[in-house]
């Protein structure tokens, strides 16, 4: 996204699916950051758009405006973009050469024994098109199961025939999916993630 992307008030309202009046109201209420001088020539950026989308989403969950403001205040533009899925996908963490090495099966074995390739096809990896946009936990909790994200670019874990998914129910209706096995350090991180997520989700429940 070019950082200089600038929208007029009408464009911003249209892109977010609200009326210009609503945008003005949110500006007045401090839900959206002010843009210097208010007026017909004011220009808004992609941060405004992301915030507007998040406000709409939280409203759809019947959160009061005061609560929405409280949450928005705690978030930077990048976090807001993360939450509405507007961020760039993480670039692959491994190089092309490392990727080729992970193909295992036929390709890793080829140097000395090319014949093995016939009986040992490499495991299929998810294509780029399937790669979900990386998003923090709060977002994941809002996503449907079919979008449950995995990061296939993590160099420490490779999908293999032995890996399998584990479902952890954080609270009713919200699950965390983890592809096992994980490295020990990641296991610890997941444990912490579950604890933090449960605290957060419990406190926010009506």
């Amino acid at each position: 996204m070019p950082d200089d992307e600038r929208y007029s008030l009408t464009e911003l309202a249209d892109l977010a699916g609200v009326t210009p009046r609503t945008v003005r109201y949110y500006l007045a209420q401090g839900l959206l950051p002010a843009v210097g001088q208010m007026g017909p020539g004011s220009k808004y950026d992609s941060g405004h758009l992301a915030r507007l989308r998040l406000i709409r989403r939280l409203q759809a969950e019947h959160l009061p405006l005061a609560e929405i403001r409280r949450r928005l205040e705690m978030l930077g533009d990048d976090e807001v973009r993360d939450l509405v899925g507007a961020t760039e996908p993480d670039p692959p963490t491994d190089t092309a050469l490392e990727y080729l090495r992970t193909l295992g099966g036929s390709f890793a074995a080829r140097a000395d024994t090319p014949q093995t390739s016939r009986s040992a096809p490499a495991p299929s990896l998810p294509s780029v098109a399937e790669r979900p946009v990386a998003a923090p936990m709060l977002m994941r909790a809002n996503m449907s199961l079919s979008e449950a994200p995995v990061d296939p670019g993590d160099a420490t874990v490779r999908p293999s025939d032995r890996s399998q998914w584990e479902r952890i129910v954080l609270v009713p209706d919200i699950e965390l999916h983890i592809r096992r096995p994980l490295a020990r350090a990641q296991n610890k991180q997941v444990d912490r993630l579950v604890t933090i997520a449960r605290e957060l989700l419990e406190e926010d429940r009506p």
Partner: protein
């Protein structure tokens, strides 16, 4: 920020009004032309692997011409470029390890190429991946890193699943290694080679006869040397409830309000046309809705301040009653582009049906598309000719077709869909 005069970026909607209580579909034609590579420009280095099929079927003229083509390609490189050559049948050999293209290395390559003979069966997947590995070992961050795969056969040994191979092509592309493919003769699988090139961010070439191998490799290497903007993306920002899809077969991603269409690398003055289909939700009469279309690329060529600097384009549609919708003017250029692309898609589908023995299905696809185009063609001469062509082709497609005709028809349509000429070459802006 003023756009340079030699760059074009414009978007054209076919119509500007949409219906309040129907899910209107409208088309947008985006025209893009890359800036010219200036003579004083130092072109980015290229890092090529050329992968040759040396299975038994390549014996004789095919392998001989292929080797000449490789020699010619290598001769065009500069010392700061790199190249490697891989040959495969059921066994994969790195004939020339990735090396800087010094005069000495280029001379040595000619000697080594003489040792390549045709024999054995076809481990296409591994041969190609070995080529990618040669490129990946010396990845040039600021350069063009590409593997060229030439084959006349099917992948029948090792990794053979087209989806799996295309998945790897996409992953390698995301990591900087692109793939172009060359299919020679009647026996290769054009769907596999097309999928590898599409997912791999490169190009696919159909080569009917051995002598054309040289032309195809020459033009692909030439394009690689002329690239001025890498990883060009068309970004469309619109409301969540507006659906955007390209009619051309470019990879697409959705990120929040943005839809990103990946056009790949563009060469000096290369012109590309992309048609988008926009599907609108219901809306109140009088309300306007819009989209913002922007161009970006890895080298900042199309960004503000780049040599091809281009401002985002804004599109506006208005909800209006059915009468106004029926009476509104149409942009004939957009209608023609849309008609051509749908005809190309129908022909590709008809090729597959014909090959599978579904002759009636092949005929029906062409007939249906001709009828749909007639629905908006009016008196337009170009569209009427297109309809006549589709009608005439129905006869051909309704009976068994020879493999070279099928391959030719696929290739012609594939090129049409990707703004390339009949020989698979990129098109310069006029």
């Amino acid at each position: 920020m003023t756009a340079r005069t030699d760059t074009t970026f414009s978007v054209h909607p076919d119509r500007r009004l949409i219906r309040p209580t129907a899910h209107s579909q409208r088309f947008v034609l985006a025209r893009i032309a890359a800036p010219r590579a200036t003579t004083e420009r130092v072109r980015p280095p290229v890092n090529l692997a050329i992968v040759l099929d040396r299975s038994g079927s390549m014996s004789g003229e095919k392998i001989r011409v292929a080797k000449v083509a490789v020699e010619e390609a290598i001769a065009r490189l500069r010392p700061d470029d790199r190249f490697s050559v891989v040959a495969y049948d059921d066994v994969v050999d790195v004939v020339i390890e990735s090396t800087p293209a010094s005069a000495e290395a280029r001379r040595g390559a000619v000697e080594r190429l003489r040792t390549v003979d045709a024999r054995g069966s076809t481990n296409l997947g591994e041969g190609w991946l070995r080529g990618c590995e040669q490129v990946a070992r010396h990845l040039v961050e600021r350069g063009v890193n590409r593997c060229l795969l030439l084959t006349d056969g099917l992948a029948n040994v090792g990794m053979t699943d087209p989806d799996q191979l295309a998945g790897h092509a996409a992953e390698l592309r995301a990591r900087g290694v692109s793939t172009s493919t060359f299919g020679v003769g009647n026996d290769f699988d054009e769907r596999l080679l097309q999928a590898l090139a599409d997912a791999g961010g490169g190009h696919f070439y159909y080569i009917a006869d051995a002598p054309q191998i040289r032309d195809a490799i020459t033009s692909e290497v030439g394009e690689t040397l002329e690239i001025v903007a890498r990883d060009v993306d068309l970004e469309i920002t619109a409301r969540d409830d507006i659906r955007i899809e390209p009619i051309s077969p470019y990879p697409i991603q959705a990120r929040g309000n943005r839809t990103i269409v990946s056009l790949g690398d563009l060469g000096s003055e290369q012109a590309v046309e992309v048609v988008l289909r926009i599907s609108f939700p219901y809306g109140e009469i009088g309300r306007e809705t819009g989209a913002i279309v922007a161009l970006t690329d890895r080298d900042g060529v199309f960004g503000p301040g780049g040599s091809g600097g281009s401002e985002p384009c804004r599109l506006i549609w208005a909800y209006a009653d059915d009468r106004a919708n029926d009476d509104q003017p149409r942009d004939a250029d957009v209608d023609r582009a849309v008609g051509r692309l749908f005809a190309a898609r129908a022909r590709q589908e008809a090729v597959q049906r014909n090959r599978n023995g579904d002759y009636e299905g092949a005929r029906r696809i062409l007939d249906g598309t001709a009828r749909r185009i007639r629905g908006y063609a009016g008196q337009d001469r170009v569209l009427r000719e297109l309809i006549d062509e589709l009608r005439e082709e129905q006869v051909t497609y309704a009976a068994p077709m020879a493999e070279p005709s099928l391959k030719r028809a696929h290739f012609a349509s594939a090129n049409m869909l990707r703004s390339r000429d009949a020989a698979g070459r990129s098109v310069k802006r006029s």
